[in-house]
């Protein structure tokens, strides 16, 4: 891997079914189920794991601090090395990359990355308050702290800047909820229309209930290994060929108005009059893509990537992210969904699993869940794990997973490749 260090592979994964509330299991038991599924799938035992990374976002949701060590001991991983990684909505992506680093550095040969979140211990609006505390508590939270409101303002500016339409936003919802009909792990599979999305209750203009993901209980586990261990343990390991991470200011109000950092397939003349990122785009998403593409040797993402699992907490975020990832130019995200390029059988399948909108978003598990679905896609084992191969992307060889925190403060991009 050009990021440095040893080559790293994903060898197994497990996910619990994401649900609005699953009080019969706590986070430890959910994580245990996902972990045991992953171990069993390649017939290894907990003894084969050298250490772990714990991924969870909020201590408020359960009012349980040090949940990480509770999962670690429940999984029979003590006294092996472990640490918690946290970065808002991108917690899962950051933890996944930390697991990659643990193996790349040579510290571990086999690393388990486990993620979980239990959001059902508080009501939805209290949950939104906890999430809003992940915005500046001096200047942003007290004004009416509500993440859907922040993203709505970004969407309004994107519409103003580029002419993106309400229908284009809604089409993302239709696509992702529709894909989830064939994903047995998803929380909200739905066959809906653009009209259904627009007629659904308005949350923050222009985002309706069906433009926004929901609170979720869930867990997910990814097992990463060195090349030697990977081929010993697994018939079809998937290589992590590059990782990238970007950051941006906590406050939306601080986002600058500069020039677009260009991908190899873009020219300065493409963006003569665009002030970037402003509040219409996620600069951290672009930075993460630039780093990951450089390390994975990608120069034309639309041609080289077969599928993408990206952080669509809001329909608008998916459209904005097409542009950050360079699947199309800035301003063309709306047309990209109109032309069906991100459909299951489109140019590059985006969120074939249903994404966060339909799979659910138990924050700490989400980024790991994306890696597991991507791993199964690249292994061509969707049928085995979903008991349905509708969502298997034909000829899936190279994929991208994308994890994103509050208004684009932390964004991770990881490139995964089938090797045989």
């Amino acid at each position: 891997m050009k990021n440095g260090g040893r080559d790293v592979y994903m060898v197994s994964g497990g996910v619990t079914k994401f649900t609005k509330s699953n009080p019969g299991m706590d986070f430890r038991l959910r994580t245990k189920h996902a972990f045991d599924y992953a171990l069993k799938d390649i017939d290894i035992s907990v003894k084969d794991i050298d250490g772990s990374v714990a991924s969870y976002f909020s201590d408020h949701f359960q009012r349980q601090l040090m949940s990480g060590i509770m999962a670690q001991d429940y999984l029979a991983l003590t006294p092996k090395p472990s640490k918690r990684v946290e970065g808002g909505g991108a917690t899962g992506g950051l933890a996944f990359q930390t697991g990659v680093e643990e193996v790349a550095s040579g510290r571990m040969d086999v690393c388990a990355v486990y993620g979980f979140e239990t959001m059902s211990h508080v009501n939805t609006w209290k949950g939104n308050e906890f999430i809003a505390l992940a915005s500046d508590t001096n200047f942003d939270y007290p004004v009416g702290g509500f993440y859907t409101g922040y993203y709505a303002m970004m969407a309004v500016r994107h519409m103003h800047e580029f002419g993106t339409t309400l229908e284009q936003l809604a089409k993302v919802s239709v696509k992702n909820h529709g894909n989830a009909l064939h994903n047995p792990y998803s929380q909200s599979p739905m066959k809906i229309t653009v009209e259904d999305v627009r007629n659904s209750q308005m949350v923050s203009y222009p985002l309706t209930r069906l433009d926004v993901c929901t609170m979720s209980d869930g867990a997910a586990v990814a097992i990463l290994a060195s090349e030697e261990k990977a081929f010993e343990m697994c018939d079809h390991p998937v290589k992590i060929s590059g990782i990238g991470t970007g950051t941006d200011t906590m406050r939306l109000s601080d986002r600058p108005f500069l020039k677009v950092p260009l991908l190899p397939n873009e020219k300065e003349s493409d963006y003569k009059n665009l002030q970037y990122p402003g509040v219409h785009s996620f600069r951290a998403g672009r930075s993460a893509a630039l780093e990951a593409y450089k390390n994975a040797g990608i120069t034309d993402p639309l041609e080289e990537l077969d599928l993408i699992e990206l952080h669509d907490a809001y329909t608008s975020s998916e459209i904005q992210t097409y542009e950050d990832l360079g699947l199309c130019k800035y301003g063309e995200g709306g047309a990209f969904i109109d032309e069906g390029k991100s459909n299951l059988n489109g140019k590059v399948a985006v969120n074939p699993s249903g994404g966060l909108l339909a799979s659910g978003h138990p924050v700490g598990a989400t980024g790991i869940m994306q890696s597991v679905f991507m791993f199964w896609q690249l292994q061509h084992s969707i049928k085995k794990h979903f008991k349905d191969d509708t969502l298997q992307v034909k000829n899936a060889k190279k994929g991208l997973i994308h994890s994103h925190a509050g208004t684009g403060t932390y964004v991770t991009v990881s490139i995964m490749e089938a090797v045989q």
């Binding site: 609006w125 001096n138 007290p142 509500f146 303002m153 970004m154 308005m202 222009p206």
Partner: protein
């Protein structure tokens, strides 16, 4: 002798609110008052009482912030307080029909990001006096200040300004 073989905890009538018995789900109450210091941002909140909107300026690189910050995000230098104009334009907006539990009683409310002439960054605030259909990007707005301060950024809010 301190050993008491008949020791017994006193019984209380506290009880516990139970939502469900299988699995057993009980109410767990939590409440706290924080001693929240605005620290280096304090002047912004004090200035609202004088009907002044204070941003900050980096004298090192010249960047001007509508939302104040003690150090510059571009060059890292310490900033100076910088008074903002009372009028600006809407850079973007939304109307929230739902919100965090704390703000639910105030819904629907408008959030805007304000841009000011000669200022490089934006300021987030509430807008009153206009409903969703009336709000447009580029619309002129004017800062108003509460007389009875709460020492919250909502001590300043915006209303539409005449063109």
């Amino acid at each position: 002798m301190t050993i008491d073989y008949n020791a017994k905890m006193p019984e209380t009538q506290e009880g516990t609110e139970v939502y469900n018995t299988d699995p057993l789900i009980v109410k767990s109450h939590y409440e706290i008052d924080y001693i929240h210091s605005y620290a280096q941002d304090s002047e912004f909140f004090r200035a609202l009482g004088k009907k002044k909107l204070m941003g900050s300026k980096c004298e090192e690189c010249g960047y001007v912030y509508a939302t104040p910050r003690g150090h510059c995000m571009i060059c890292g230098a310490e900033t100076k307080w910088h008074e903002l104009p009372n009028e600006g334009k809407i850079h973007t907006f939304t109307t929230c029909y739902f919100g965090s539990e704390k703000f639910l009683p105030e819904t629907p409310f408008n959030l805007i990001m304000v841009e000011f002439e000669g200022v490089d960054s934006l300021f987030m605030a509430r807008l009153i006096g206009a409903s969703l259909e009336d709000i447009k990007i580029g619309m002129k707005v004017k800062a108003k200040f509460k007389r009875n301060l709460t020492y919250s950024p909502t001590d300043v809010y915006f209303v539409p300004a005449k063109e």
